[in-house]
């Protein structure tokens, strides 16, 4: 029985509160939102793998000057159309041999290349090293995509934030503007822009940014409409905070998750769009390479030398898939709907 529990003599003295008891203690560690999101992201294995793949590609592409074994633009007509040759490896497809007219031929010997000469991914129709071209091409594709996305972000966020915050007829007007822009076929806009600005990296970048900012703008506007009714924004107003300060202090930080996620989805679209434009010939021009131009070049020889198209295509696909998976993982990490 409870009454018979044996207890030390001084048990029933009143407790001296001042000593140890904190009635407002918080035991959990102090995490910022980003730290918390990172913790959640780490649990998502596929997102982390995608992230690592992307990091590898970025390092290789932007360090292409380091990693390229050859000059990507150096033309060697006598060494044209050589298949990949990996030193010491003797698997068909990687040993410098081709099937020509039914029989396997050592293409390197046939072209008169020296013993120490090898191309990891083969050469194209002008004798240029595929690996180097792919590295440089990836760099260009990524650069265009990222800059375009950055411009897209800037225009889209500002437009959407302003439209959502102002509300009323300003919002109405700005949304109609977006609708008009969206109703014009993208390709038409891009072609017109390139005609005016002349083809080149900057015009492509602008064209891509111009055609995709509307999505970001709409997303940001929707979220702003919701955020501006939140009580902490009202509290900032009652404290006399100016609209600009509210936008930077209260709205943007809470919009950041959406911005980051949307950016991660926009980049692969931009990469693909650039590739598409270059593929159809109105994008990057020779001798510069981008993944799209490489695909275009490779397409000419696809029947007999498929590797010339496969390798750029694989690189393009892997990058896009990785971005999408990573963005998906980010979205789950930023959105703490699921507990634990």
């Amino acid at each position: 029985m409870a009454d018979e529990v044996k207890l030390p003599a001084d048990s029933f003295e009143p407790l001296d509160k001042s000593k140890h008891l904190d009635s407002e203690k918080i035991a959990a560690p102090n995490l910022t939102f980003m730290q918390d999101a990172w913790r959640r992201l780490k649990k998502n294995k596929s997102a982390i793998i995608a992230m690592i793949i992307l990091i590898i590609f970025f390092v290789l592409a932007f360090g292409s000057a380091f990693f390229s074994p050859h000059n990507p633009n150096a033309v060697n007509p006598q060494l044209a159309n050589l298949p990949p040759k990996w030193p010491g490896v003797n698997i068909n497809g990687l040993n410098g041999t081709l099937v020509q007219a039914g029989s396997r031929v050592n293409a390197y010997q046939a072209a008169g290349a020296g013993a120490g000469v090898h191309y990891w991914l083969g050469t194209d129709y002008l004798g240029r090293d595929m690996l180097s071209r792919i590295l440089f091409g990836t760099r260009i594709s990524l650069t265009v995509a990222i800059v375009a996305t950055a411009v897209d972000l800037l225009i889209g966020v500002t437009f959407g934030l302003f439209s959502g915050w102002k509300g009323g007829w300003v919002d109405n007007f700005m949304q109609r503007v977006i609708e008009i822009i969206m109703s014009i076929p993208t390709l038409v806009v891009v072609v017109l822009l390139i005609l005016i600005l002349k083809p080149g990296m900057s015009s492509i970048t602008l064209a891509i940014a111009f055609s995709s900012w509307t999505t970001m703008a709409r997303l940001i506007r929707a979220q702003t409409l919701e955020l501006k009714e939140q009580e902490y924004v009202l509290a900032a107003k009652t404290l006399g905070e100016s609209s600009i300060k509210i936008a930077f202090k209260h709205l943007l930080p809470n919009l950041s998750s959406i911005i980051i996620i949307q950016t991660m989805f926009t980049i692969p679209s931009a990469i693909f769009f650039e590739a598409f434009l270059s593929f159809v010939g109105i994008g990057i021009s020779a001798p510069q390479a981008s993944l799209g131009t490489l695909l275009n070049d490779g397409q000419k020889n696809f029947q007999f030398l498929p590797y010339q198209m496969w390798y750029p295509a694989i690189v393009l696909s892997v990058i896009m898939i990785a971005f999408n998976i990573f963005a998906d993982g980010l979205r789950d990490a930023f959105d703490p709907q699921t507990k634990g």
Partner: protein, 362 residues
């Protein structure tokens, strides 16, 4: 007062949650039972564990929950050991639950007649037209006006109070043995709340369902409950009949809860409130979890958790103040007034009992 059959027995339930910050000991040893036809109110602050307890009865715990120990006996079967299939057979049929927010409890894309009839069709295999007819009857029973015409309406066409009635209809259509009501009126206006509580009382009589009523509002408890269990930091600290808890409370936490509610004749002096915040269950304090906020704390409260001390056959409280060696303390004024009332009620009951005995002898 004939003794009623016990239909649910929760024994020494212990549940932990694995979170990134560590293990949260949400339920630290909870035992109670529920008798047929009665209303048991579980009272406590947010985080005391009342919702987790009811979730475990329905087998609806989150993925990161680990049952460390204990059993939940429903008619001699342990719910914690049941398979998904068995649990699905229980839910909506023998044990039903209604929640706080009628907006999110109803499917916005399904007509309400269908939503009410669904549990019948699923659990009892009743054919659609028969089920819809019964649904209509249920709608009238819960007081939905113009039921014949409204049976094909969607939830958004009803007010908050009406929606809660629909939720109740869905829960009760299979005449469940236990109805778990988790803060069902907290989100409603006070006039609507009164109507819904009246409705629940009437229906309980008609259907003889037992109700587990979770709330932090002691006024609602006073009007609904037969017995009350007070929870704090994952444990039950006091339980008894509603009169015992309200007029003869023994645990300082119960004293604090009762003193912090103004009654209609509270004057404008200071309202007694419990300082501080409930402890973080990631790191429950040693001894009595309430000690940090307890103005009557004793030294032993930081060393050993108090066991249950008996106050009467139906009333137990887990506080060292009830130990025979503990000093006598003066409870807050409001509690003293209540205890005076209790003494008067006891006296009256004794006299009444005496009169009845004498009458019987004649």
């Amino acid at each position: 007062m004939q003794s009623k059959e016990t239909i649910l027995k929760v024994n020494h339930l212990k549940i932990n949650f694995n979170t990134y910050a560590g293990t949260v000991k949400a339920i630290r040893d909870v035992s109670f039972d529920l008798k047929k036809g009665e209303t048991l109110a579980i009272v406590g602050e947010s985080g005391s564990g009342k919702t987790v307890t009811t979730r475990s009865i329905m087998g609806l715990l989150a993925n990161n929950a680990v049952v460390e120990g204990g059993t939940i006996q429903f008619h001699d079967k342990d719910v914690l050991k049941m398979s998904q299939k068995q649990l699905e057979g229980l839910r909506g049929a023998k044990i039903a639950q209604i929640f706080q927010d009628p907006m999110t409890s109803l499917d916005p894309t399904m007509r309400i007649g269908r939503q009410i009839a669904e549990p019948l069709m699923i659990h009892k295999g009743v054919k659609k037209d028969k089920a819809m007819a019964q649904a209509l009857e249920m709608m009238k029973l819960v007081g939905i006006t113009d039921a014949e015409n409204r049976i094909n309406d969607y939830p958004h066409q009803f007010s908050g109070g009406m929606r809660q009635r629909i939720v109740i209809a869905i829960a009760l259509i299979n005449y469940p043995e236990i109805l778990i009501a988790d803060e069902p009126t907290t989100a409603l206006d006070v006039t609507i709340q009164a109507q819904i509580l009246n409705l629940m009382r009437e229906l309980q009589d008609k259907i003889s369902t037992s109700i587990i009523f979770i709330t932090h509002d002691l006024g609602v408890v006073a009007g609904m409950a037969d017995r009350v269990a007070v929870m704090y930091a994952g444990k039950i600290v006091e339980y008894g009949t509603v009169d015992e808890i309200f007029y003869n409370p023994k645990h300082p936490y119960t004293w604090g809860l009762l003193s912090s509610m103004p009654t209609l004749d509270t004057d404008s002096g200071e309202l007694a409130s419990i300082p501080g915040t409930p402890p973080d269950l990631l790191d429950p304090p040693k001894g009595d979890a309430f000690a940090a906020r307890n103005p009557y704390a004793l030294k032993i409260d930081t060393e050993q958790e108090p066991p249950f001390f008996k106050v009467s056959d139906t009333h137990y409280a887990a506080t060292w103040l009830l130990h025979p060696d503990a000093p006598k303390v003066t409870p807050p004024d409001q509690i003293i007034q209540r205890q005076a009332k209790f003494a008067a009620m006891q006296k009256e009951a004794k006299q009444q009992h005496k009169i009845e005995e004498e009458e019987e002898q004649q």
